[in-house]
Symmetry: C2
Subunit: 418 residues, 2 copies
Amino acid sequence: MDFLNEMNKIGELAVLAARQAAIMTDQKKNRCLEAIADQLEMDRKKIADANIIDLKNGKKNRLNGAMLDRLELTNDRLSSVIQSLHDITDLSDPAGKVDREFTLQNGLKVRKVRVPIGVIGIIYESRPNVTVDAAALCLKAGNAVVLRGGSESANSNLALARSMTAGLRRANVNDKTIQILPWTDREAVSVMVKMNDHIDLIIPRGGEGLIRFVAENATVPVIKHYKGVCHIYVDQIVNADMALAIIENAKCQRPGVCNAVETVLIHEAVADHFATAMAQRLRASDVELRGDPGFLDLVKDAVPATEDDWHEEYLDKILSVKIVPDIGAAIDHIATYGSGHSDAIVSDDETACDRFLREVDSAAVYVNASTRFTDGGQFGMGAEIGISTDRIHARGPMGLEELTTYKYVVLGTGQIRE
Amino acid sequence: MDFLNEMNKIGELAVLAARQAAIMTDQKKNRCLEAIADQLEMDRKKIADANIIDLKNGKKNRLNGAMLDRLELTNDRLSSVIQSLHDITDLSDPAGKVDREFTLQNGLKVRKVRVPIGVIGIIYESRPNVTVDAAALCLKAGNAVVLRGGSESANSNLALARSMTAGLRRANVNDKTIQILPWTDREAVSVMVKMNDHIDLIIPRGGEGLIRFVAENATVPVIKHYKGVCHIYVDQIVNADMALAIIENAKCQRPGVCNAVETVLIHEAVADHFATAMAQRLRASDVELRGDPGFLDLVKDAVPATEDDWHEEYLDKILSVKIVPDIGAAIDHIATYGSGHSDAIVSDDETACDRFLREVDSAAVYVNASTRFTDGGQFGMGAEIGISTDRIHARGPMGLEELTTYKYVVLGTGQIRE
């Protein structure tokens, strides 16, 4: 079949490009990124024209306002895409970094050295800026990339990819280092996620449906997160003002993202006062509150929460609230309903904080800070290609340490995100 | 269906046990391991009796000598299983180790801390000693484990697992921390590898068929290696004696293991002398040689190698040999036919060594040493649960570094394995 042959060819070209990218110097990779930035600058008009077609199609297909907004590549947004290429150029090259070095008794010197992953497949939905951001990050780390964008942004993605490959050619680099699939249907995804021989890693970015589809069909390793059901637990010994500011920030500063809070758990010892103060504060920001019976006793006009609410990533100005008898019950709730993304305790009791940090097993666990900080840019990584809630990481001999993963522990004094 | 319900129940109990194991102190984990060692000591007779049944069944089912040997749990082998429990007790606990620590401009202190993976599923074939080794390593790292052994060793595995759970109870620890499936058929594997909600990681150990079956059916992340097609490249500026000693060691010291060499690549500048010297040396150890036309010109009575030979993991005293025009051709051959496990260069030319280390992308890359050192025990990890040729490792926000993996670079001066 023609389509399968073409996919196979794309895979083979990517493998070859990845071998070349893996041995590029940092200077060479930076020259590529700058050449891509220049080319995007020159192609502003073409890219804008392509984006207009996508927006027209989007309106015809009755996409909602939020989706049309994500699709739109204004002049300013393209400027910030170009700026991010310069920013990525400035990051230090991780390839070749020595993680660990040791000498065996027989005199063998062993180094654990960071190397590119190889060919990375990115499967994403409507945001066209992902096309450039993801490709640039993959390239700077020495990888080749195969992109498969959504149908809504097909014209914009193709225009951006064309500029990027022109940039690669200007830098005298294999222009197959960045490839975009011309197919935007699910069948292309089905084939792509089984290309073991050509793709080393798939990163899906999009809704839970897309991610589950990828995870269930992939034979290539997948790095993913399904959803962010993030919790804030308000402990019995607590600075209530700090807790209110953190909750308001984590819910309202940008409700539609994965590190926004969805459920607040309140220790019953402080519930009387705190529940009403929180209700007042959040209602001023138009947040709908859904509570368990304990919360409804205190805030009469809240909506009763159902079992489904505890599992829900609202991505909206809705918050579920539960009154818990102690920190153990809060930790149990998070273990049962959490998604392993980001969870926080607000407390002035060091013992409680230590217990929370130790027993809550999420990718990021916070003390006295907003969950909104779980973000590559905020963590000083310079950029972010996604957030993983996966738990594995091993290559080579696996001893004891390879049977562990890691999490981020974040200690704050009330930090909220601007 | 009863079977699915039972699998589900096993998964739920494992998740609970994993939460408890994750917060056990090192002392407590060590007490468990010592209690298990004591219990195995007391149960020697029961275990031997169970092993005799497996051996009888094996003979009845006409297993070959090598398989029966792997199945046998002699008194000495059980002693070394028990000894390995004491050795694992002595390893330092990786959980809680801080990988990295940094402070953000807003004052947030971020720590990247090692934590247990959770529930680990081990799917293995005939060796009953894996039952104890794998369970003990998982436990020491703070994980719960679900074991699924092969049908040949079913009685031995069950007896060992029963002793281990009795040991856990003696140490007052949840005895579901170590569970073994009573089903040894492929259907049990099919269900197990899709238990996303209960299992965090699957490690299959066995032949390529088993591993492919797991990789193709799993929705749970899998750490695997399919096979070890390891190469040694003999460069043009070379200490021939060292090269011969390394090749002999890598092929003959234990031919049936994954880090044994399968293909030798010889630079044409040294081929005249080296090929005949190598043929003489390896024939003294009964190694069959299969060569490309270049090698056959020099060693007339070698067997012609087919395309299949370059892909083959012989696990036997057979070696394929190719004469290459330069180091680039050697690296290309390894990129095309290698399995990303372990590859070595023997050379006195620093530039060639550097290029080989940089361009050969395998889990372990060697200069002037035998490939047989790719082993957790040899690397000083104290123990090994397997070798991974996977390339991913990320949890939490993924920036640039999370788009790299690592490899081991090993620098030697002729080391061979005793």
